[in-house]
Amino acid sequence: MKYAFYPGCVSRGACPELYSATIEVCRILDIELNEEALKGASCTGAGVLQEKNLRLGDTLNARTFAMAEKSGNPLMTICSTCQGVMSQANERLLADPEYLASINEDLKEEGLEYKGTADPKHLLWVIVEDLGIDFLESKIVNKLNGLKLAPFYGCYIVRPTKALGFAENSGRKQALEMVIESVGAEVVDFPGKTLCCGFPILTINPENSVNMVANHTIDAKDRGADAMVTPCPLCHLNLDGYQPNAASARKREIDLPIIHLPQLLGLALGISPEKMRLNKHIVSTKKLLSELVISP
C-alpha cells in the first residue's frame, strides 16, 4: 500500500534513527512511502502553536490534509503527537462545514482545497488495521523470544479517544501490546504506559519533567522490563535523553533502553541494529542487543 508520508519534525531533527528505521521497515512490509507528497507540509503545531492561535493550527493541518488528498494516498505519520494534533484538527474541520469553507479560503491562493477525506494514521495503526497482525507475523524472521518490553504510547495517540476514533477502531487501545506480542516479545504492563512522559514541560518545569521520566522508567524496570518501546519520538527524547538525570535524581541506576516502534519491528524483520542506528541512543542498547535471543 502507498502512503503520503508525514515524518514530523523530530524524525528529521533529533531522532534521525527513527527516520532510518522507518524507511527500512516500510520497505520490508511493502509500505510504499510517497515522500514527495508532503515535502512542503509544515509542522502540525504540536499543540503549542494551538495555544497561541487554534485557527492557525487548523489551517496549517488542513493544508497538509489537502496535499495528501491531492496525492491520492492516505496520510501516514510516525509520531504520536503529530497523530493526535492532526486527528483533533480533523475533528474540528469536519464538524463544521462553514469553518472548513472559511479555512479553505486561506488555502485557495496555493491552489489547495481540503475536501474532508483525509484520515491520518500512525504507522502503529497502519500495521494493526491496514496490514494486519497476521501479515506482520508472516514477515518476521527473528522472533524476539524472551524479550520483556514495556509499552509507552504517548498521550496524543490515546487521548482524546473521541477524536482518535477509539470507538470505531477498538484495536487502537491495545495496538502497541499487539505488536509487541506479535514479534514474540513479552508485554510488561504498567499504569504509566498511557501517561505523560514530561516532554512538553521539559523547558518549563524541568524538575517535574525529570520526575515523570523517573517514575515511568523505574516502574517499568522494576516490573522486569528489558526495554521500553514507544511510537512517539517526543517520549523517546525525554525518556532516553533525560534518563541519566532521572537516575541521578533518584540516586539509582535505571538503564532502560527506549526503543522506537520501527526499531522493534526492524529487529524482528531482520534489519541490522546499526542500520536502524540502535547504537545511537543515549541509554545504550548494547547490553540489550547482546542478550537478545533471536530465534528464526
Partner: protein
Amino acid sequence: MEVKFNVRRYDPESTDAVDHFQEYLVDMDDSSTVLDGLIRIREEVDGTLSLRCSCRSAICGSCAVRVNGEAGLACNTKIIDVLSLDGKTVTIEPAGNLPVIKDLVVDFQPFWEKIKSVDPWLQPEGEEPEAEYLAPDEDMLHLAGVVSCILCGACVSDCTVMEVDSNFLGPAALAKSYRFVGDPRDDSSQQRFKTLNGYGGVWDCTRCMKCVEVCPKGVAPMDRIMALREQVMESGYKNTNGARHANEFTNSIKHSGWLDEKKLVIKSFGIFNIKAMIGLIPLAIRSQRAGKVPPIFHKNIPGVENVRRIFEKVETKK
C-alpha cells in the same frame, strides 16, 4: 450477572493499616452502575466498606473513584461497560492525588485549598447596579461548559502533573479561574493573570489531556488552561519559559515551516539564563556523542512562503 469487585481497602485504625485489595462477588443487573454495586456491598456484604455518595445522578460530584485505573463517577458508570477482559471483574480504587481517609473516601481539603486560591467569586469594579450584575447571554455562552463543573475531583485524581508536584494548581482550580476570567462582569483579570502566570500556574500543565478524558461533565479543563495561557500572554506576561516556548515554537514554524529544536530549547530557557544553559551542556554532549542532534543549519521547508502567507492572513484575523 455475577460481578467480581476488586476494591482497594485502607483503614488507618486497623492494627495492620496497609492498603490492600479485597474481592467481593455480587450479583448485579445488566443496567447496574458501579455505585449500585458498591452500595450493595456496603449494605449486604461488608458494612465496613467506606464510600462517599449522595445524589446518584451525576449532579453532586461525591462519588468520584478510579474504575480500572481511570477516574470517573461511580454513579454514571455502568458495570457492563467497564468489565475487564475476563468479562467479570471491575477494579475500584479511591481517587488519586488526594490523601485517603478510609477505603474509597479521600480528603478533599487540598482540593478546596486550590479552588479557594484562585478567588472563585466575581470581582466587579465600579458602581453597584440596583439589581443583579447582568451579562448578555452571548457573552456567557463560552462558559456553558466550564460552569457544568460539579467539583467531583476526577480531573485532579488523574492529573499527571499533580502526581509529581502537589504545588500545581491543577485542572479543577484552573478551569474555575477561567470561569471568572471569561466572565464579562469580572474586572480582576490582571490580578488573576498574575497568579496564573506564577509557579504552579497555567504553564505547568503538560497538555496530556487526561483531565479532558476523565471529566464526566465535559468541562475540558485542559482546553481552558490553554485559553488562559493565550490570555496570560496577551495581557503582557511574555517573559516566562512557557510564554517564550510558545512564542519561539510559533516563530519557528512561521519562518521555516517546521521546528528548530536547538533554538527552541535555548530560547525557552532564555539565552541569558546562565544556570539553565550550563545545565544543558551534559545533554548536549550526550546527544552529540550519540549523533542525536538536529542538522546544524535549519533549512526551510519547500514552499515556506505559503506557510508565511497563511500566518499573515490568519494572524490578522485575530
